[in-house]
Point group: C2
Chain length 108, copies 2
């Protein structure tokens, strides 16, 4: 028997980041654009923006922001705060997995 679970981060009692949103942010960082991230994740552009708008709205600071100009002629990027949030989520997730292993040991 094992204890399993799923975590998310809340701000003001609202979900700011869950595993789906984190995967999207990570994929934007890997692929360099929301468009490419959507293709990689087989997610619609509309759905991606819905998730991004939602996390930006819950948060005091944006996790993703539009940038204008630059080499690629603008686009969107994950902010430093967004990167920090990904790290916080993944750290909490790793710690939780270890905790679940220890709880699972108590079950049997």
């Amino acid at each position: 028997m094992k204890v399993k679970g799923r975590i998310w981060l809340e701000h003001n009692d609202q979900i700011i980041l869950g595993v789906g949103r984190v995967r999207l942010l990570e994929q934007i960082l890997i692929d360099g654009s929301i468009n490419s991230a959507c293709k990689s994740l087989k997610m619609s552009y509309k759905k991606a923006w819905k998730l991004i708008d939602s996390m930006n709205e819950v948060s005091d600071k944006p996790l993703v922001e539009k940038i204008s100009g630059g080499k690629g002629g603008g686009g969107t990027q994950v902010t430093d705060f967004g990167k920090e949030m990904i790290l916080k989520f993944r750290t909490a997730e790793t710690n939780t997995k270890q905790f679940f292993e220890s709880e699972s040991g108590k079950l049997n």
Copy 2:
């Protein structure tokens, strides 16, 4: 910012108990029958049996069993093993809540 989450118990990589199933078992214990528990939880009888069949199937031992005869002319009851599983779930849940509080403290 807070770490929140949801837990469940797995046996052979299949979910045996989550919060919905535990609530159903607890309500059967409180109300004394599946029928009454369904009314309390506003759950259909069909749905309740689907959940019960599913947990019994995943488990090596039944969590709910049919009893024949007796004062009430038979019925169904949560087994001792089922009661043990409720306790294990609720204990793991309480421990997890404490763990999430401590993880939340690390976020800020």
